[in-house]
């Protein structure tokens, strides 16, 4: 069976599942049935796409639907297969998690029908091979996810989240629509094959790039189009948040790659500059937002923005190298991007699952009310710890590998002839390093405040470990994070068909390297071996442990914390998320968020408690979106007076129109 046929039948299965869910959504067994169905189908699709990725066979399929004279084209090539792997891996893990998590869902009938539809939509976007089907599936995906965001529509703020999300989504779609309109030309040949073969003027290429940055960027969460993301992702049920953050943003990136790298042909170098700088800014801004955040799921959503920035930066690098014909370097940067796509989908899903587990166990998303969960839910906290280490780009986990590859690509910048790039690349490199370090800080905060320390509330004290489906899902993802971290060579080799197909270049075959180490360019330049690093750490750690336990004293006494003598203050006196972020807020926030700390210190003898109020401003929202909304509101009010005219005034409108047209006619000839 041709891969595409397999994939399409999986999609059909998912859609069938959605239909099924509508009918038995109120049945008690619905959750189990639907999720096991999606799990099975996603697994099937997952292995199918792995096969077609490794097999490297291109297959396409045309259905007699969609635009009548065109039909709906679907196609799997290396790129599509890779993203199908990501999508379906996410889908499978989410379904597995959902088997357990879904039991706690208050309104299953608002989740079950849309989840399979959402998965189907994402698969279809990746499969689509003509502009119309692409946009149709893209918007269908948005619609399904919107419905999922509205699943808990009674909670305050979710309505706004859904609204902002839907409007931004449609904005993005319209941008893509314009882009495809430009690509397809007046004749309107919307097939990707036709677009690929057509010649595009620089003017058109420029417009398309901008429109794609608006369209795909708004979906992926590029600053300043990111505003919907921290609202919508947390609003959805956690496994859906995982899908939206971990997978849907990647689908957006797929769209960007497909159009800019594949359809548009040879890029221009400054396109690289634009994407690179946007990526860098997005990365830093995203993680700074996350640093300021105290809501666990929102923090994760913001960190998604950061990772998207990283990916876009690598894509920008790839564009720059490609434009200058440096195929090897381009392949390196591109591989880094794709690798990071995979990694982020893994650990971000894992972390959202963890957040979901915390949510089910405590009913609390606000970190300031959590703490000490490592004692209550040890397994969850272990899995989440792995996720935090991985997303902080620390060896030997997978996050580090992709960042490392990206830095290697950054180090290739001296090859670039253009000055703008020469200067921009190291600067952005520094930005990315900053982002990485801040990410580490951010997740120290997230993990430390949520899982470590003492419980800040009864909710956290009475928490219990979550069900085993959720745990299995989390541990599988954690294991994958580690595997991808210590055996990166395999992944890189698996990605090489894509770079070969799209850039016409590839990285050296990693399988030939000794000891499974990875070598981007040449061993003399740089190399990294996750496996050995891990082995060394284990060995030396166990050596240390061995000697300690051999020779040192084993005596251990439990005692209240010392804390320089201020021993038992209330848990409220611990460092909270806000206070943890304070140094970084002082350093960066003052400028970027107009952050102010207002301290009311009552006079001595006054019994009022002292208060510290932190004032933060989202400048993007206040500077960009609020004014737009205001302008629309103002003009709406202004025009609305037309609703309240007298008949005579309406008549005079008609009369005026008539006279104007007649005048125009009189003057025209």
């Amino acid at each position: 069976m041709a891969p595409v046929v397999l994939q399409m039948s999986c999609v059909a299965g998912l859609l069938g599942g959605a239909g099924l869910a509508i009918f038995l959504s109120r049945a008690r067994s619905a959750t189990a049935i639907v999720y096991s169905l999606t799990l099975a189908v996603s697994l099937l699709a997952f292995f199918g796409s792995i096969r077609s990725l490794l097999g490297g066979d291109i297959s396409d399929l045309t259905l007699p639907i969609g635009l009548p004279w065109l039909g709906a084209h679907f196609r799997t090539d290396a790129l599509a297969s890779f993203f199908l792997v990501v999508v379906n891996l996410g889908g499978a893990s989410a379904s597995l998690y959902g088997l357990g998590y879904g039991q706690h869902e208050p309104a299953p009938h608002r989740v079950l029908p849309f989840l399979p539809a959402f998965l189907a939509g994402m698969n279809l976007v990746v499969l689509a091979d003509d502009a119309f089907s692409y946009l149709l599936c893209w918007e269908f995906m948005s619609l399904a996810s919107w419905a999922l965001v509205m699943a808990h529509h009674r909670e305050p703020g979710n309505a706004k989240a859904g609204y902002v999300y839907l409007v931004m989504a449609s904005f993005g779609t319209l941008a893509l629509l314009l882009a495809f309109g430009l690509l397809a030309g007046p004749a309107g040949d919307y097939g990707f094959a036709a677009i690929r073969s057509a010649q595009h003027t620089p003017y058109a290429a420029t417009l398309v790039l901008i429109l794609m940055l608006l369209g795909a960027g708004s979906k992926a969460g590029l600053v300043p189009l990111h505003v919907w993301l921290p609202l919508a992702h947390p609003a959805a049920p956690s496994h859906v948040s995982a899908l939206m953050s971990g997978v849907m943003t990647k689908v957006a990136i797929y769209g960007f790659i497909r159009v800019i790298f594949d359809l548009l042909g040879q890029p221009t170098w400054w396109a690289g500059v634009v994407v690179l700088i946007l990526g860098g800014i997005t990365a830093v801004m995203g993680i700074l937002y996350a640093m300021m955040e105290t809501d666990l799921k929102r923090l994760l959503a913001y960190s998604t923005i950061e990772n998207i920035g990283v990916i876009f930066a690598s894509l920008g690098l790839a564009l720059a190298f490609q434009a200058n014909g440096l195929k090897l370097a381009a392949a390196l940067a591109f591989t880094a991007a794709l690798f990071h796509v995979l990694n982020h989908s893994l650990f971000k899903s894992l972390l959202f699952f963890g957040a979901g587990a915390v949510l089910t166990a405590t009913g609390e998303r606000d970190m300031e009310k959590l703490g000490g969960l490592i004692h209550r839910m040890p397994q969850t906290s272990f899995a989440v710890l792995v996720g935090c280490v991985a997303i902080s780009a620390l060896p030997p986990f997978n996050g580090f590998v992709s960042e490392w590859l990206m830095f290697q690509a950054v180090l290739q910048s001296p090859e670039l002839p253009q000055w703008a790039l020469k200067i921009a690349v190291p600067a952005v490199g520094a930005l990315l390093a900053l982002a990485a370090a801040l990410a580490a800080a951010c997740f120290v905060k997230a993990y430390g405040v949520t899982f470590l320390g003492r419980s800040r509330g009864t909710a956290a004290e009475t928490a219990h470990e979550v069900d085993r489906y959720s745990l299995v899902a989390m541990f599988i993802l954690a294991a994958l994070c580690l595997l991808a971290g210590i055996l990166p060579g395999l992944v890189i080799d698996a990605l090489s068909p894509i770079t070969t197909a799209i850039l016409g270049g590839r990285m050296p075959i990693q399988a030939n390297e000794p000891w499974l180490s990875i070598v981007p360019i040449a061993e003399s330049r740089s190399s990294y071996n996750g496996l050995l690093v891990m082995v060394f750490i284990t060995i030396s750690a166990s050596l240390a442990v061995f000697f300690i336990h051999r020779f040192a004293s084993h005596a251990l006494r439990r005692a209240p914390a010392w804390g320089c003598g201020f021993s038992d203050s209330t848990p409220a006196a611990q460092y909270s998320a806000g206070s943890f972020a304070q140094p970084i807020r002082r350093v960066f926030g003052t400028m970027l968020f107009h952050a102010r700390d207002h301290v009311e210190m009552p006079a001595p003898g006054d019994t009022r408690p002292a208060r510290l109020r932190i004032e933060l401003h989202d400048l993007v929202w206040e500077g960009m979106y609020a004014p737009i909304a205001g302008a629309v509101g103002y003009s709406a009010d202004w025009l609305n007076r037309l609703q309240f005219l007298t008949i005579r005034q309406y008549l005079s409108l008609v009369f005026a129109t008539l006279v104007t047209l007649l005048l125009v006619l009189a003057i025209w000839s």
């Binding site: 609703q643 309240f644 005219l645 007298t646 008949i647 005579r648 008549l651 005079s652 009369f655 008539l658 006279v659 007649l662 005048l663 006619l665 009189a666 000839s669």
Partner: protein, 222 residues
């Protein structure tokens, strides 16, 4: 030829007369006098239609002329007089725009219609051209009346004078099928029936047919 030029002159004067009377309507500020002027308007219309019937040897146009004479010149004005009396609408028309500006606007409109129509190529026969030009100006002036007058009766009058312009044009169009005149009369008839119904209902509801009384609702309350 002689005949033709005569025909031309007569119809020309009549049509021009209509335009002139429309101007008079613009000038009126009393309801009754407005109605009288309108009756006169209808009479002249009837004359010109009859003349056209004679010139074009199109006897069916006499029917139109008769309709115009009977309905517009007699029945309607009388009816409107009644309504005004019954509803006790105060007699003077408050107009949105002053008389002077209105007259000027009227001038401009007439000029505009002339410009537009006289540009029409001459091989459409001059008779039709002149007629059309005047008809267009009558239509526009009628509309102007509707726009500048505040109360329902005068708006109705304006509307009817607009219809007169249409009839003028229709009859000027040589050999225009009977269907159309009937439909014209028909539509005017319908129009009046419906307006009548409305005046009635409106009277049931409010104490005046002053449109502004209707306008207090205007869709959504603020």
């Amino acid at each position: 030829m002689q005949m033709h030029s005569l025909a031309f002159d007569v119809s020309h004067t009549l049509a021009g007369g209509l335009v002139l009377i429309s101007f008079m309507m613009l000038y009126q500020d009393r309801l009754y006098s407005l109605l009288n002027v309108f009756a006169f308007h209808a009479v002249v219309l009837a004359l010109s239609v009859a003349w056209q019937a004679f010139v074009q040897q199109a006897p069916h146009l006499y029917i139109t002329a008769a309709i115009a004479l009977v309905f517009k010149a007699i029945v309607i004005p009388v009816a409107l007089h009644r309504i005004v009396k019954q509803l006790g609408i105060h007699r003077d028309i408050e107009s949105a725009v002053g008389i002077g500006p209105t007259m000027l606007a009227g001038m401009a409109l007439v000029a505009l219609s002339m410009v537009l129509m006289l540009r029409v190529t001459a091989e459409a026969d001059p008779l039709a051209r002149e007629d059309l030009a005047f008809a267009l100006s009558v239509v526009l002036l009628g509309l102007l009346v509707m726009v500048t007058r505040r109360n329902a009766v005068s708006q109705v009058v304006g509307f009817m004078s607009l219809e007169n312009g249409l009839v003028l044009a229709a009859t000027g169009a040589k050999g225009m099928p009977l269907v159309v005149e009937i439909s014209v009369a028909f539509s005017i008839l319908i129009a009046f029936i419906v307006i009548g119904i409305f005046l009635f209902r409106i009277r049931e509801r409010f104490d005046s047919v002053d449109v502004s009384a209707l306008d207090d609702y205007r869709g959504e309350h603020r």
